[in-house]
């Protein structure tokens, strides 16, 4: 398998949009997925959930700190400026719901796996490298007028 199947990407995009519509109360605009290692988003907040089973890999969420604060505020029903220490947990939960919805939809399509608990990394100068042979596709989304988020599917090849 050299490429990530289009059907998987479609399901991941739908899962992400569903989570944002229901839990963040924000519709997401989907843009053309970017394949490969070349371009990575400039992000300060990265949530990851690993999965293993019929397929193995990682679902990763990327945003800036400001966007992550806005998402957290919307989830909790408070202004983004009032968000304090809640943001890492909220982004972990968003990543968990995206990966969980993706898992459920893939299970309905015949592919079963288990998912890990979410991990959230916050910083300004880091790069995530996967040591196994993987395929990566980054799905960009727009949220409102100014915010962007990215959800990446990283699939191991063995």
């Amino acid at each position: 398998m050299n490429q990530i199947p289009t059907e998987m990407l479609t399901i991941l995009i739908e899962s992400t949009q569903e989570v944002f519509e229901m839990m963040v109360f924000q519709p997401l605009g989907s843009q053309t997925p970017i394949e490969g290692e070349a371009l990575r988003p400039r992000s300060n907040v990265v949530g990851t959930v690993a999965f293993a089973g019929d397929r193995s890999g990682v679902v990763a969420f990327y945003s800036t700190t400001a966007t992550a604060q806005a998402i957290t505020g919307a989830m909790l029903g408070i202004p983004a400026a009032d968000v304090n220490g809640e943001m890492p947990d909220a982004i972990g939960e968003i990543t968990n719901m995206i990966a969980g919805t993706f898992r459920t939809k893939m299970a309905a399509a015949g592919s079963r796996w288990a998912i890990s608990v979410p991990t959230v990394t916050i910083g300004s100068d880091f790069y995530t490298k996967y040591v196994s042979d993987v395929r990566r596709v980054l799905c960009p989304f727009t949220m409102g007028e100014n915010d962007e988020i990215f959800v990446e599917l990283i699939l191991t090849l063995n």
Binding site: E18, V19, E21, M22, M23, T72, M75, L76, G77, E86, D89, A90, G92, E93, N96, M97, A99, G100, T101, R103, T104, A107, A108, R112, I115, V117
Partner: protein, 121 residues
């Protein structure tokens, strides 16, 4: 009506408790995993338990089995709120003893309707 909300995510506990408050249920206790949940039930009691599945220390499934194995809590209504929504997951949760099931992500209306349906029974 006393609710016990059990989830390792503080965000999700707040979302669920905010939803309960909005529909008129103000008496809510919370716990971060099944073990804490059992402690809360022993200390304070509850009329309805809302629990996540994937939690550290004691999972939601282990928590429900513990509830059903305890004479004082065996008949407590339990609503599971989780991302685990494949057919096999739901079968496993039903076998463990849940009364109802809500899949994350959810709308506040879904939680409200499930609770009202549980109370009607």
């Amino acid at each position: 009506m006393r609710f016990l909300v059990v989830d390792d995510s503080t965000t999700m506990r707040r979302i669920i408790i905010n939803t309960l408050n909005k529909v008129g249920y103000q008496n809510c206790a919370e716990a971060a995993n099944g073990r804490e949940g059992m402690d809360r039930l022993t200390e304070f009691g509850a009329d309805i338990v809302i629990t996540d599945w994937n939690m550290p220390e004691m999972s939601g499934i282990e928590f429900i089995r513990a509830i059903r194995a305890n004479a004082a809590t065996k008949d407590l209504p339990v609503l599971m709120v989780t991302t685990n929504a494949a057919k096999d997951d739901i079968v496993e949760a039903l076998r463990a003893g849940i009364n109802s099931y809500v899949v994350k992500p959810f709308t506040p209306d879904t939680i409200k309707q499930k609770i009202e349906a549980m109370l009607a029974h």
